[in-house]
């Protein structure tokens, strides 16, 4: 396991600066929450980390070395927001997971070994291994999101980035996914960058929180401290706006 570090990362699209000199660390075995409004650059930061967009400057390192974006091993994995578009509708969920298995590990070589590994992963996210041959269309949103988590775990990642993984889900299903995230973290000691616009959700899963506004990180620290005694005006504004804060 190793820590994920963003150092002075800047990402630009044309003339707009989406991420502006961001430095952030995801320490080993912790869940770091990243909150902020739409357009504040959260997803761009995540996509830069996994190599889906190219940062203009700065470094993103994993255990001191640049995050590898080529080759069979991808120690940084990502789970996407929309469970309905993150699984190939024509590929069985088992194949989707198998595709992400590292190809250079001895214990997942061979058809049988891969099938066993897929079964193990499905069980890990509380899905029946017999469903490996189902197409995504037969799964509910929450189940799909669990498959997406299993796929991310298949790559034996050291860090997982979760980008708004519950915001497309109904509240009744969101709870199950959040429970799973906490459980996996506790069992596997996973490090995670958990992106969400929902403060209550981040509070529930993350031990540290970073607040992002206009491409910059304006405040970062332990969850209890940042949410309990915010220092930046913007964090205070976010907290004040969170529903359920007013005495009714």
């Amino acid at each position: 396991m190793s820590e994920l570090r963003f150092e002075d990362v800047t990402v630009r699209f044309g003339r707009t600066t989406a991420v502006d000199r961001v430095s952030l660390t995801v320490p080993v075995g912790t869940v770091v929450g990243l909150v902020g409004e739409s357009g504040s650059g959260k997803s761009t930061l995540a996509r830069a980390a996994v190599g889906l967009t190219e940062p203009e400057s700065g470094a993103i390192t994993l255990g001191g070395r640049p995050v590898p974006h080529r080759g069979a091993r991808r120690p940084l994995q990502m789970v996407f927001q929309d469970p309905y578009s993150s699984l190939d509708p024509r590929m069985s969920i088992g194949d989707s997971i198998a595709e992400a298995l590292p190809r250079d590990l001895d214990d997942v070589r061979g058809r049988r070994a891969r099938r066993d590994e897929v079964a193990r992963l499905l069980e890990l996210v509380h899905l029946d291994p017999h469903r490996a041959r189902d197409l995504p269309a037969r799964l509910s949103g929450g189940q799909r999101q669990r498959v997406a988590l299993a796929r991310a775990l298949a790559g034996r990642p050291e860090v997982v980035i979760a980008d708004e993984i519950t915001s497309a889900l109904d509240v009744s299903i969101q709870g199950a996914v959040l429970n799973l995230v906490r459980e996996l973290q506790a069992e596997l000691g996973l490090s995670m960058l958990f992106i969400s616009h929902n403060l209550a959700v981040v509070r529930y899963v993350a031990s540290r929180v970073a607040v992002m506004q206009g491409g910059r990180i304006v405040e970062e620290g332990p969850t209890a401290q940042v949410l309990g005694a915010p220092e930046h005006d913007y964090t205070r504004e976010l907290l004040a706006a969170a529903p359920g804060r007013k005495p009714s």
Partner: protein, 662 residues
């Protein structure tokens, strides 16, 4: 497998339409002729009879003879093979070149990719015939030249289509996910992209084959296609037209052949495209009753909701046994199944429930806005003492236009993109309040100002895309304030907005409510928002109200197991971090498959035999709250038993979810 099954059904769907069937039969006929034509009629087609040249139709020669006395019908039938071979060759060239060019930008990426796609964009602007002429010059006059000409001329269109489709699929998260997982570009193209774009490509290739056939006849007609002594339909047509004054049938036979074959490809392609596209919700014609109103009196709805107390004087909106029915391919669905509630003057009523529970449809139904394929019925539907089940009339429209304000979920799409904001607001005044254009615009600016749009005068002249999301939503509220509303119906007005902006919109709604005693129906999937803004909350499940409870009592006094689970499932800023969140196993009920008995029974920890057999009615308690549950208020099993330590418990719950939909 499900998809195979679905595919078989869709094919059947295509082939059972008259058009699809005709096209398929024609296609088979063309295929048979291609194989057998020259075998069966080859000799008679070449039999020269100089005594009988340029004859008109007769029993021996149904379509007459040509200038060498050869039978035109036989020649037309024989020409099927060459015509089809050429068309198929041409479309193969077009598709192959198009696939290469279309996939290149994705594979190459970067500058090279952009160059290819720019080149395709330039080429696609030129019409096929022009390109065909160009290539006909380059490759020379004749069959090979024509194949290349028609093929290459079709390539840009296919390249563009492939490119668009590839770009669409490549933008999906599952492709990003595969990239993150370390799958290479070529592999992604082969495993994820091509399988997902195969259908539209094949359909378009089919239509393209028809186009190629017709293009060939065009080139041959110009004398640039197949040259004597070989002949295809175009060539026969060319010869036939020169003899049209003597024997029109000489042109008619090959002309018809080209047309029928071309039509076979086109109609078949179009039918398949339609059949495999987004399924359209249509039913038996007699179900397509359009009047929301007309049907109301006819059928007594079957809803079982208990009446709220006798309607009091200050009731703004009164709803009894509201139903919404849609026709589907297999019958009808009833996504709203007997809903009853009142909204009093100045009251804020929240509606919560999972996606698909019928919240939006209820809101649309009470505002007479359900799309026209749906039927709305109600025992009673009154707004400000007007019967909303009455047929449409100018007076009713004016009353609704000025007294009922609507706010919709997506501020990005709810304004007309081609009209200025000010005009869109002013329209209400010119239509219903008899104001002139300038006056109406003045009022619009005033209203925009009242919802705190800064610099309202200038903003009124802007287009919607120049507004931010929050401003648009405020402008939408301003539109409702053009009249003097008694009720604002807001369907997820803040779901698309950021939290800080959400708060401003909610505050604005609260202010309007306070200022003029305006009632509010606020739909949201967010229990916390509703609890904060509203006086009373209606909880909907599977098209029914299952609980009607005061907002203050939502967290503590809710009786229905669903309401209690919904409240407990949502983390809030004071949630106990040591406990797992409550979960609701299984999935929401599909309106097409509402079970007998309580719709929630499959997911309810309290469900028993009675629940599965009898639907509980919505009954009122002394404090005015209502609940529909046989076991209302009984203690729920402690959610703690469903933690990680107790895997078996979780798996058992999951097993519920695993039950496959029939």
């Amino acid at each position: 497998m499900a998809s195979d099954h679905g595919r078989a059904r869709r094919w059947r769907g295509v082939l059972t339409t008259p058009v699809g069937l005709t096209a398929a039969v024609l296609l088979v006929a063309v295929a048979v002729l291609t194989v057998l034509g020259p075998v069966l009629w080859g000799t008679s087609a070449d039999a020269v009879d100089t005594r009988d040249v340029l004859a008109t139709p007769s029993p021996e020669h149904w379509a007459g003879t040509d200038n060498l006395g050869r039978d035109i019908l036989a020649r037309t039938l024989v020409a099927t093979r060459l015509s089809m071979v050429l068309a198929v060759c041409a479309i193969t060239v077009a598709v192959a070149a198009g696939l290469l060019l279309g996939a290149a930008p994705y594979l190459l990426g970067g500058r090279a990719g952009r160059l290819v796609s720019a080149a395709v964009n330039v080429a696609v602007a030129f019409p096929g015939l022009l390109l065909a002429l160009f290539f006909a010059v380059v490759f020379g006059v004749g069959a090979t030249g024509a194949v290349m000409a028609v093929g290459l001329a079709g390539a840009p269109v296919f390249a563009r289509l492939t490119q668009t489709l590839v770009a669409q699929v490549a933008g999906r998260d599952y492709v990003s996910a595969a990239r993150v997982a370390g799958v290479g570009r070529l592999r992604i193209l082969l495993r994820h992209v091509l399988p997902n774009i195969a259908e539209p490509l094949v359909v378009n290739a089919t239509i393209g084959a028809g186009g190629a056939l017709l293009a060939f006849s065009g080139l041959s007609f110009l004398g640039l296609g197949v040259q004597s002594p070989a002949y295809d339909w175009g060539r026969l047509l060319y010869d036939g037209i020169s003899a049209i004054y003597v024997n029109p049938a000489a042109a008619l036979a090959p002309g018809l052949a080209v047309l029928l074959a071309g039509l076979a490809f086109n109609l078949f392609g179009e039918s398949v495209a339609k059949g495999f596209g987004v399924p359209v919700l249509v039913g038996a014609p007699e179900l397509r009753s359009r009047g929301r109103a007309a049907a109301a009196a006819a059928d007594a709805p079957t809803g079982t909701d208990g009446d709220p107390d006798e309607a009091a004087d200050d009731v703004v909106l009164e709803v009894r046994d509201l139903e919404v029915v849609f026709p589907t391919a297999t019958g009808t669905v009833r996504p709203v199944r007997g809903v009853s509630f009142d909204v009093r003057r100045g009251e804020a009523v929240g509606v919560v429930g999972e996606s698909g529970s019928g919240k939006s449809l209820t809101a649309l139904a009470v505002s007479r806005l359900v799309s026209e394929d749906g039927t709305v019925r109600a025992g009673r539907l009154r707004f400000l003492d007007q019967d909303l089940t009455a047929p449409d009339s100018p007076a009713l429209r004016r009353m609704l236009g000025t007294s009922l304000a609507m706010v919709f979920q997506d501020p990005m799409t709810s304004f007309n993109p081609t009209r200025r904001i000010g005009r869109q607001l002013a329209e209400v005044a010119t239509e219903h309040q008899g104001l002139g254009r300038a006056e109406a615009l003045g009022r619009a600016v005033d209203r925009l100002d009242s919802v705190r749009i800064p610099d309202a005068g200038r903003r009124a002249r802007q287009y919607p895309h120049e507004f931010s999301g929050g401003m648009r939503q405020r402008a939408m509220i301003g539109m409702g304030l053009m009249g003097t509303p008694s009720l604002v119906v807001a369907d997820e007005p803040t779901t698309a907005l950021d939290v800080t902006v959400q708060q401003q919109v909610l505050d604005l709604l609260a202010e309007i409510r306070a200022a003029d005693d305006v009632a509010l129906v606020l739909i949201s999937h967010d229990v916390t928002v509703v609890a904060e803004v509203c006086d009373r909350v209606l909880v909907m499940y599977a098209g029914r109200i299952v609980e009607d409870v005061s907002a203050a009592g939502l967290a503590t006094r809710a009786q229905h197991p669903y309401t209690r689970a919904l409240v407990a499932a949502v983390p809030h800023m004071d949630t106990d971090l040591d406990q797992p969140l409550a979960t609701i196993p299984g999935r929401p009920v599909d309106p097409a498959e509402v079970p007998a008995g309580c719709a929630y029974a499959a997911r309810c920890p309290l469900a028993d035999a009675r629940c599965r057999a009898e639907d509980p009615p919505l009954v009122a308690a002394v404090d005015g709250s209502r609940v529909a549950c046989w076991h209302a208020g009984e203690p729920l099993p402690d959610p703690v038993v469903r933690t990680a330590e107790d895997r078996t418990g979780l798996d058992a719950l999951d097993a519920d979810e695993l039950v496959e939909a029939p």
